[in-house]
Symmetry: C2
Subunit: 336 residues, 2 copies
């Protein structure tokens, strides 16, 4: 099946580039409210399921035992910018588990946030594992291992209890069976499991509503959503899509990016989950897809859509600030 063109990049009056993709909006009973493209083929959600991977940390009581703050729980669900606040929060999580940055298995990269990255260079410093955008998730994994009395070494491996718990939570919430045939290695060295968009969207509807989940899991999901909603800057960073969209709408919108053009989202007030993937892996396309879908569903009509416009139909400017084009939703995502 050929996925439709869903995003167009305009330069002047002409379409310069186009992105194809698929997506689904599903309720907590699994009913498909809206879909386009292939939604039953497994795709790697990458970091878009960090909130699901954080469920065992909260549900097990580890977060409680280690007195993790709301901001720290939010950072466990983050692909953060590597700003000082992110780095310090990840270090504080590790300290609560009696560990430090040397325990992290996520690897090192320069901060995703350009300001954070430049500031680090300017200070003549190099990044550590704490600057890795996944350091909060990994710190959460280590907190879970520590509070559970598990070995911390090898926590990133598929066979370790931490990864088994994360996988079991994802399977339970999405209903997808995650076998070795859909397993690969993520950028931060943990396993990533390919899951159909339909199942991902269902998972986020359940996460948002608690429907179909054990009560302890539903409570953990509620706490995670609340933590993210009150700490949107922890989940990405200043000026970044996820943070700014959640700032605009507070607890009404949960949204999380994953590498290679994935987005998952939820609108708790409607009990809906969303999942999209740009075929070509482009984040710019996935952002417009998810913004267009949120704008279509979010109660509040035209005024809410106007607030989303900078995300759903951004203007392209060149190095002199001259407007040279725009991105816009297309095909099944075009606004009526």
């Amino acid at each position: 099946m050929d996925n439709p063109v869903v995003v167009e990049v305009l330069r002047g009056a002409r379409v310069e580039s186009r992105h194809r993709g698929a997506g689904a909006i599903v309720d907590a009973d699994g009913a498909v409210v809206l879909a386009f493209g292939e939604i039953d083929e497994p795709v790697f959600p990458r970091s878009a399921v960090k909130a699901l991977q954080a469920l065992p940390l909260v549900e097990s009581g580890a977060a409680e035992t280690l007195l993790l703050s709301e901001a720290e729980i939010a950072l466990a669900c983050a692909s953060h910018s590597g700003a000082p606040v992110h780095v310090e929060t990840a270090a504080a999580m590790l300290a609560k588990a009696g560990l430090d940055a040397a325990s992290l298995a996520c690897g090192v990269h320069w901060p995703l946030g350009e300001d954070a990255s430049r500031a680090l260079s300017r200070a003549g410093r190099a990044p550590s594992q704490l600057h890795n955008n996944c350091s909060g998730k990994h710190a959460g994994f280590l907190c879970l291992a520590c509070a559970s009395g598990w070995e911390t070494g090898g926590y990133e491996q598929a066979a370790h209890p931490v990864q088994r718990a994360a996988k079991a939570a994802i399977e339970d919430v999405t209903g997808a069976a995650l076998g070795e045939d859909v397993c690969a290695t993520d950028g931060c060295s943990i396993p990533t499991y390919a899951i159909p968009l339909r199942a991902l969207a269902l998972g986020f509807a359940r996460l948002a509503t608690g429907a179909g989940l054990a009560s302890s899991r539903a409570a953990a999901a509620k706490r995670i959503f609340a933590a993210v909603a009150t700490n949107p800057a922890m989940v990405a960073g200043e000026g970044r899509f996820d943070t700014e969209v959640m700032r605009l709408f507070g607890p009404r919108v949960f949204v999380k990016t994953g590498a290679e053009g994935v987005y998952c989202a939820a609108l708790p007030e409607l009990g809906l989950g969303f999942a999209v993937k740009a075929d070509d892996g482009a984040t710019r396309a996935a952002q417009i897809m998810i913004a267009a879908l949120i704008g279509r569903m979010l109660p509040g009509g035209e005024s809410e859509r106007r607030r989303l416009a900078p995300f759903a139909s951004p203007i392209l400017r060149n190095w002199n600030g001259v407007e040279v084009g725009a991105l816009r939703a297309a095909g099944p995502l075009r606004s009526q």
Copy 2:
């Protein structure tokens, strides 16, 4: 017409993302040697035609009058990394025209080259227009204006003699008519004209052979190709695709990237020109497309293809250096 999938991104054993695109290999008579996808729809070549835009600088005698070096001519065709050597060379070109960085209209951005960018931050400095990847092209435009006795102000505007000369050269070499209907504004504020891939490929075949060009234009093309071949580090920078591929093959291969997934190339020994565009604008896809095509055509067989393999089928590693996947040519570009 739907362009075919031409590049696949693998994570583990699964295809995680896929890129579609179109491309053409054409000889200097316009005969299509190989084509896939839509090659008659105009696409913006962006920086992939900088060698064509530099023709008037050389052909007019301006480069001669101002005693531009081979390295400076190469930089006029560059999307450079903003390394010190690029910045100094652009400044030297401007000085030969009696100008400085304030005359540049390309705008400011941080160096494309990560090393150059970090070094600038570390020194507590900010980028200038000289760091813009197009500063060499703009310095070339200003040299042309200066040696021709034209006003330098407004040289980036479509109506200025510099841009009229660049446009006339592109029209002549590619055979495409460049009207207002195909004109938009490039990242560096000069006009960019959409041109079919078939015409772009023809243009590079003519540039490589001189066939069909006035003798002064053919001589200018020859000088530009020689300047680039002997200064591959000027055209992009250390570790970047264009520089490293041209270093491997010297004057046998000319290759130049353009934003939004475009590549143009030429194999002078065969008299062939190449042009490709990834539908979605992804540079990673366009690189594999052009590397696969060069590998297919370049005389030398298996041993040359092996040297191209790191560019045609790169391995993907994560932040810990673990091999997690690969990119590969697909569909009509799959190696037999």
